[in-house]
Amino acid sequence: MLLIDCPYCGKRPEVEFHCGGEAHIARPETPTAVGDADWGSFLYYRTNPKGVQAERWLHGHGCGRWFNALRDTVSDAFVATYEMGKPRPDRDAATASTPSNA
């Protein structure tokens, strides 16, 4: 089970959260002005990267807030969490420290 650093509550167990998929996909201001293909992309197409991706998370059984998180889809490491509306932090998986047995 993951420990997720809610920007409002601090580290809390994953069972309190709900993942809402890829972040920073803004709903178009005027949907009716968007063409079929672009609207299809908005609805259904996601990048699904191997590595760090920005995701929406809801602390539903906690403070009730949605926030964004950078999570490494390979290691499950949370690189950063940040409030909705804030820009994506300029960080990558390398910042997550891993001790070694060397």
Binding site: M1, L2, L3, P13, H18, G20, R27, P28, T30, P31, T32, V34, D36, W39, G40, L43, Y44, R56, L58, G60, G64, R65, W66, S75, D76, A77, M84, G85, S97, T98, P99, S100, N101, A102
Partner: protein
């Protein structure tokens, strides 16, 4: 049985506390501190079970949790009745206590005389992959003959056949450092980590007391004192620190993401005095800042013919039984080894009075100081020797050994008589948890082992589990992993070994049973066969031969199997790969995993405030999400069909009373509430006046129907939204999502009020008459209180939100009162209703009534791919609103394409035939399979009010096909039905819409 093999003194047993367990019906004696295995050895009994496939006699191989052979069925509380027995307990870890009843497994009629042992003679049949090869034909025979017979013949213990009578508990814990394993490395790590009093440290060990391998040791010293004194000192120091929790008998079995480690603590199995009701085991879910793995290592058996005979044990285990439990595993010991460590066993056995000799596969020149130590003690060492085979059947009686020539030839054979063999093929670090944590293993040629390479989490391995074997180094390594330093001077350990996969022999390898995996009866020849048949990846070999499977997961066998495969293929060992280690490390009871989540605590059962009345009045309930709802109220002699027919008729002729409390309710408040509603629902809300209600339809962004419900405007800035019973949580989340992430500028707040209000629906022509006497401040007349309006006031003297709504087509009210008053108000109305023919009805009648008038149920008519137009509800979709969730999607090409499935009615040709919900619809039942499905039945009922069956269905372009005949699947074939409008009943009198 007495204890002829108990040593006169020593051991970590309490001789002042004798005890007895029942073993196969006989009395077995021992002392506090014993395991069942040590008691068996004390009594001279090594035969402890029959093997999985060949029913070969098996003894005790090990002294720990890696024991593959001595598996027992244990009745932990035979005195308390059934439900306390479980199979496949390792004799080496079952702590002895009075009252324990243990039995050996997989034999008939008895352990001594086992008919199944004929399998051993038939073994050419049972080679690797024998299932796949032998039982191919005839196909029918598999289910009826082969499988039942094989299942009966092969296997381990019998699963319990009654409910587990024990309690299990659960605990979440957080700490800064979790140390797994309380051997020298783990103790040192815990000492170092806990020196900082602000750090919370948990030290868990699967054994009954801390110390690990030092518990087997009577000669080693640390800083000049006996090792056990160092252990006692370390434990005392840790005990005194408030920031340390020591958990003995606690196995860390699963290592998951973010240092989430699951452990099971055995609380009561070892306690004869455990009070009834004390939990048997506790599941710990630990979230640790850092994890130190000090999990030790497993000794490798040697592979030679008949190496599974009882009395043949791992060398360190012989030492453990001698020293820790003060029992002699025999009188005449041969130590067979390719590892220096086994010399300690030889020395200790000699000191204990056993006759000892050593057969070392290594040449004298390859040995270390251990060789001289053995010589000095007067022990005969046969260096450069191999074992051809073991003699004896139910107990080893001798070993045939011979020197190995320079070119590998087998020399002259000698038979060494013995009743015990201590074997060691070296050591395998226990990297299970490290590997589970997704750390990368690295093959170390010097150590001939996979060791932890790169950690994937905040984790360090220390000591033997990463190939550090010398005691001084182990302690220093542990301390370092704990973030500190310790450098005591300890006795030098005998370390180093020469890897041997299979002992050299001149016997015909294809006829020899030399076991690699003891638990699954996998021999070296099985593995050779698998490789010859093309299974080269170790994962494939594992599945084909089953090596490394079952309850011990190959703790003792994996490296020998790997090495053997690598040798046959002539590849370096890492090229063959290693199998994936998965949780659990050792078997975990289901009870521990589920903890209290059984019986009434399995799931919350949500009951409405009116539920007690329903129960008292004979309701039959059904689960809806987590709720239990009254389905119908049968009278004496009625089945569901009769009860529902009566209930539905009563609503249309008199009045029905229905508990609608489960409906989801959300209060939407704020100056921008109407704007928010506009954006979330398809309908327009701006013009809805205060006091008005509207049926709202909600879409997902992809344009498909998500939820529906009646919404009331209580004030300019306040809406009372209702949702489907099951949809309440997701609708709330959906709304909150848009509010927070798309429209944070809106001043709107949501509050769940589902459980604040009890909801009593009165439906039917007499509804107003029932309500009237209890309402003083609300005018109930049609003119003052028309359909689809809401008023607040008092009913029965309690505050009320009164809705004039209908889900039946009849005149209807929904009385919302604060939940605590729900039952009292219901009873009051019900009593008054007696004058007006009131009938309580349940969810089944509710469904029939709404279907009669063509109302849809989201989740029944819809399946996440249905648009408002598909349901015939395009009138609820605003054409003028510039935007709402899902609007744009409704004009995507596929959403407006011709031929979409549409909601229609279906009337069977035979009026009383009720279609199956979910049944498929086709045009032509004579067409070849696969047929073209043109739709499916979504709702289907016997309708007493319509005098026939009615059904709703989603049919391709259904609305254009009204009047046409189609065919619907039935369990027997097909039946004819005619497509109709989806409204079946014409409401008479003052209807909902009057």
């Amino acid at each position: 049985m007495s204890q002829p093999f108990r040593r006169p003194s020593g051991g970590r047993i309490d001789r002042s506390r004798p005890l007895a367990v029942t073993f196969n019906g006989k009395r077995l004696e021992g002392f506090a501190g014993d395991t069942v295995a040590s008691m068996l050895i004390a009594s001279g009994q090594h035969l402890a079970g029959r093997s999985f496939k060949y029913h070969r006699p098996r003894g005790i191989l090990s002294h720990g949790s890696d024991e593959p052979s001595a598996l027992l069925s244990v009745d932990w509380r035979a005195d308390r009745g059934p439900g306390y027995r479980d199979p496949n307990n390792r004799a080496s870890v079952v702590e002895a206590r009075d009252g324990l009843v243990v039995n050996t497994q997989n034999h008939w009629p008895s352990l001594e005389t086992d008919i199944g042992a004929v399998n051993d003679l038939l073994s050419p049949v049972f080679v690797a992959g024998f299932y796949y090869k032998t039982f191919m034909w005839p196909r029918k025979f598999w289910d009826r003959v082969y499988e039942p017979v094989i299942r009966k013949a092969a296997g381990l213990g019998e699963a319990p056949d009654v409910k587990d009578a024990d309690r299990y508990s659960n605990r979440h814990a957080h700490c800064d450092v979790l140390v797994v394993g309380a051997g020298p490395a783990g103790l040192a790590a815990a000492l170092a980590a806990s020196a900082d009093g602000t750090k919370r440290v948990i030290l868990a060990d699967e054994g009954s007391e801390p110390g690990g391998a030092l518990l087997n040791d009577t000669t080693a010293t640390i800083d000049g004192r006996p090792a056990k004194e160092w252990v006692a000192g370390a434990v005392a120091t840790l005990d005194a620190r408030e920031n340390v929790v020591i958990l003995p008998r606690t196995t860390a079995f699963g290592y998951y993401n973010h240092n989430h480690v699951c452990m099971v603590e055995r609380i009561s199995d070892h306690r004869a005095d455990a009070p009834e009701g004390l939990a048997r085991e506790r599941l710990w879910q630990v979230r640790a800042g850092e994890v130190v793995l000090a999990t030790g290592s497993h000794e490798r058996p040697l592979v030679f013919e008949n190496n599974d005979r009882p009395g043949i044990m791992l060398a360190e285990s012989v030492r453990a039984y001698l020293n820790r439990w003060a029992v002699l595993p025999g009188n005449e010991l041969v130590v067979v080894t390719s590892s220096a460590s086994a010399y300690r066993t030889a020395l200790d056995a000699k000191a204990a009075g056993m006759r000892v000799s050593i057969v070392d596969i290594r040449l004298e020149a390859d040995c270390g100081p251990e060789f001289a130590a053995a010589k000095d003690a007067g022990i005969t060492v046969r260096s450069g020797h191999t074992v051809i085979r073991a003699l004896g059947k139910k107990r080893v009686t001798g070993l045939v050994v011979s020197p190995i020539g320079r070119d590998g030839t087998i020399g002259e054979k000698t038979t060494l008589a013995c009743d015990c063999v201590a074997m060691s093929g070296g050591w395998t670090p226990s990297v299970h948890l490290f590997s589970q944590s997704r750390g990368k293993l690295r093959f170390d040629v010097e150590l001939d082992a996979f060791v932890p390479g790169t950690s994937a989490q905040a984790e360090r391995s220390a000591g033997a589990c990463r190939g550090v074997y010398d005691l001084t180094e182990v302690i220093a390594d542990g301390a370092k992993a704990g973030g500190g330093e310790l450098a005591p001077e300890a006795t030098a350990s005998f370390t180093g070994f020469q890897p041997v996969r299979v002992l050299p022999t001149d016997a015909d390898a294809s006829k020899v049973k030399a076991f690699v995996d003891f638990q699954n009866d996998v021999t070296a020849k099985d593995i050779r066969l698998a490789v010859r048949e093309g299974f080269e990846s170790i994962e494939h070999v594992k599945r084909y031969t089953t090596t490394g499977m079952a309850t011990d997961q190959g703790k003792t066998s994996n490296m020998n199997a790997l090495g053997l495969v690598a040798g046959i293929l002539d590849r370096p060992l890492p090229a063959v790969g290693t199998t994936t280690f998965r949780p659990p490390y050792t078997p975990v009871s289901f009870g521990a995993l589920i903890g209290p989540a059984r019986d009434e605590l399995f799931d919350p059962v949500r009951k409405t405030p009116i539920d007690p009345w329903a129960e008292a009045n004979g309701a039959v309930f059904e689960p809806v999400a987590l709720w239990r709802r009254a389905k119908y109220f049968p009278r004496v002699g009625e089945d569901m069909h009769a009860a529902v027919a009566r209930e539905t008729r009563a609503v249309r002729t008199h009045v029905g009373i229905f508990d609608a409390s489960t409906l989801g309710k959300i209060e939407v408040i704020g100056p921008d509430a109407a704007e928010f509603m506009n954006r979330i629902y398809t309908n327009a809300w701006t013009k809805l006046k205060t006091g008005g209600c509207r049926y709202g339809l909600m879409l997902r962004e992809d344009g498909f129907v998500y939820d529906d419900g009646v919404v009331a405007r209580l004030a300019e800035d306040r809406f009372h939204v209702t949702t489907t019973t099951g949809g309440a949580p997701r609708v709330m989340r959906h709304m909150e999502d848009y509010l927070q992430t798309e429209w944070p500028d809106l001043d709107v707040f949501l509050t769940s009020i589902t459980e604040q209000w009890a909801v009593i629906a009165l439906q039917g022509p007499n509804a107003r008459k029932v309500l009237d006497p209890f309402v003083t401040d609300i005018d109930l007349t049609e003119a003052a209180f028309p359909h689809m309006t809401v008023k607040t006031g008092y009913v029965c003297g309690v505050p009320c939100r009164l809705f004039r709504v209908s889900f039946t087509g009849e005149l209807g009210f929904e009385v919302n009162v604060p939940a605590d008053y729900g039952e009292a108000v219901w009873k009051t109305l019900y009593e008054e209703g007696q004058k007006h023919g009131i009938t309580p009805y349940g969810t089944e009648a509710m469904h029939v009534l709404r279907a009669e008038v063509g109302y849809v149920v989201v989740g029944q008519e819809t399946d996440g791919t249905v648009t408002p137009d598909d349901l015939g509800l395009s009138g609820l979709v605003s054409k003028v609103k510039p935007d709402f969730v899902g609007k744009r999607s409704l004009t995507r090409p596929d959403m407006i394409a011709a031929g979409r499935r549409q909601l229609v009615g279906l009337l069977t040709k035979t009026p009383d035939e009720v279609l199956d919900e979910g049944a498929q619809v086709v045009d032509d039942p004579a067409q070849p399979i696969p047929m073209k499905m043109i739709g499916h039945v979504t709702s289907s009922y016997a309708s007493s009010n319509c005098g026939r069956s009615i059904a709703m269905a989603m049919i391709d372009a259904g609305r254009e096909r009204i009047g046409e005949t189609v065919f619907v699947t039935t369990p027997a074939g097909f039946t004819e039905a005619v497509i109709s409008n989806a409204v079946f009943y014409d409401v008479k009198g003052e209807t909902a819409d009057a």
